[in-house]
């Protein structure tokens, strides 16, 4: 093995990947560059903007603050894992219906944060939602439609 490289085996959106990766590569860069999963966006790269939020074993985390080698043996879910082959995920549809995105840069992080949040709190209040997405920055929408989309995401499902 080359110096500074490690073998990493992980599951991303249900698919198993095995790769030789430089130890100093972040998980975000690994997802985008090695796996070509460019849905995960990189904004600030120091844990402030939330654009790179993914799920690691079900918990929302910043993929720019984790090394790819640290995800060895883990299950990762990215925004590409939300929709099935034909249909958007109900949360994505709610974003569409409520005009919860403009430029779309923050959207993957917003979706993944909201997805994890809705697992714990399926029918949140506006206040709970504001707190849940406080770690995600959006520079277009003013947040109101995003909050609405998350609050209403599960309205139709039950």
């Amino acid at each position: 093995m080359t110096e500074g490289m490690r073998n990493v085996k992980l599951t991303v959106n249900g698919h198993e990947y095995e790769s030789n990766v430089e130890v100093r590569k972040t998980l975000a860069d690994f997802l985008r560059e090695n796996l070509q999963l460019t849905g995960t966006h990189l904004g600030c790269e120091h844990g402030v903007c939330g654009a790179c939020t993914i799920l690691l074993n079900g918990d929302s985390i910043r993929s720019c603050l984790l090394l790819a080698v640290q995800a060895d043996g883990s299950a990762v879910t990215t925004v590409e894992g939300l929709a099935d082959e034909t249909d958007l995920h109900p949360l994505q549809r709610s974003f569409q219906e409520n005009h919860a995105l403009q430029c779309g840069f923050c959207t993957p992080g917003m979706l993944m944060t909201a997805y994890a949040f809705l697992q714990e709190t399926p029918h949140p209040t506006e206040e709970e939602t504001k707190d849940a997405i406080s770690g995600n920055i959006c520079r277009c929408t003013g947040y109101a439609p995003i909050i609405q989309a998350i609050v209403r995401a599960n309205d139709k499902s039950d």
Binding site: G4, R6, E22, V23, R24, K25, T26, D29, E45, H46, G47, G50, T53, L56, D59, S60, I61, R62, C64, L65, L66, L67, V69, Q70, T113, A116, F117, D131, A132, S134, G135, N136
Partner: protein, 291 residues
């Protein structure tokens, strides 16, 4: 590639980590939750030769109640786990509340209690709470183990009493029995951001409402979290009335020695610090009855 090159080592037990720290000493940096270290690596403000990733160590993440009713928390326990713990909510609700203001949920899912304390950011809620509770830290090296009071631990901005060969392994927190009440307040631009200034206040009152004991710990307004001894002394034997609270606000404002930065001026931090200390004490007196 964001971070500069480093050698990446992954011990699987505490002994292994301590051996690596003995070998690499000053050249090594411990990677716990990484929520402070990874940004520093990404921006190349930190360029350690060796990164000792302790995340694969089992047995360092636990929350347990000791025989004397106190709470011991393994250094590698994720902040979100502590925040949601029923044991903590029941016995030390001020910790659950304070953790709710540590970064955002994505940060707390990964960030550890020991990492926050070892990093010693002056704006860290956990450190200030440890100071207020007079918590103890267990510091281990390959050859020794010492138990240190939190007040001796924080030496300066991002500087602690931890030796390069030592690892913080456990945090021991007294639970708030004996009628302690608590208050927690902070001011920041956006919820979860670094506090411009904040306060953890603890108070114990007798039946007639006289103060038996008070602790006021400030964060975000100095090199380290800091206890406000003069203000605490002012409260002893006094009722919690407006005259006492006015004095506390004034004493805290006078005592604080914050810096000016792009987020807030020193003068602002001093003034708001006094007001925040006052509100925390009021909150403690009025509702936040401990355990």
């Amino acid at each position: 590639m964001k971070p500069a090159k480093f050698e990446y080592l992954v011990p699987d037990d505490v002994e292994g980590a301590l051996d690596l720290l003995r070998t690499h000493s000053d050249d090594a940096k411990v990677l716990a939750g990484g929520q402070s270290l990874m940004p520093l690596l990404n921006m190349r403000l930190a360029r350690p030769k060796v990164l000792v990733d302790i995340n694969r160590i089992s047995g360092l993440d636990y929350i347990s109640e000791t025989n004397d009713g106190n709470i011991s928390i393994g250094a590698l326990t994720r902040q979100r786990l502590i925040e949601k713990s029923t044991l903590v909510k029941d016995n030390l609700p001020v910790l659950s509340t304070a953790l709710g203001s540590v970064g955002h949920v994505q940060i707390r899912n990964r960030g550890t209690i020991g990492g926050s304390i070892s990093h010693a950011d002056p704006a860290a809620e956990i450190s200030a709470l440890c100071l207020a509770l007079e918590a103890e830290f267990v510091l281990k090296s390959h050859s020794s183990e010492r138990i240190m009071n939190s007040e001796s631990f924080f030496l300066g901005q991002l500087t602690t009493a931890l030796e390069p060969e030592e690892l913080l392994t456990e945090i021991r927190l007294p639970s708030l029995s004996d009628g302690w009440r608590w208050g927690f307040q902070e001011v920041c631009r956006r919820r979860g951001d670094f506090a411009l200034v904040g306060c953890v206040a603890l108070i114990r009152l007798d039946d007639s409402g006289m103060c038996l004991d008070a602790r006021i710990s400030m964060f975000g307004a100095g090199e380290t979290p800091v206890r406000m001894r003069e203000a605490e002394t002012r409260m002893f034997g006094s009722p919690v009335d407006s005259s006492a609270l006015d004095d506390v606000a004034r004493l805290v404002s006078e005592k604080l020695d914050p810096v000016s930065d792009i987020h807030a001026s020193a003068a602002y931090r001093k003034q708001v610090g006094g007001a925040i200390a006052r509100r925390s004490l009021e909150a403690a007196t009025n509702q936040g009855k401990g355990a």
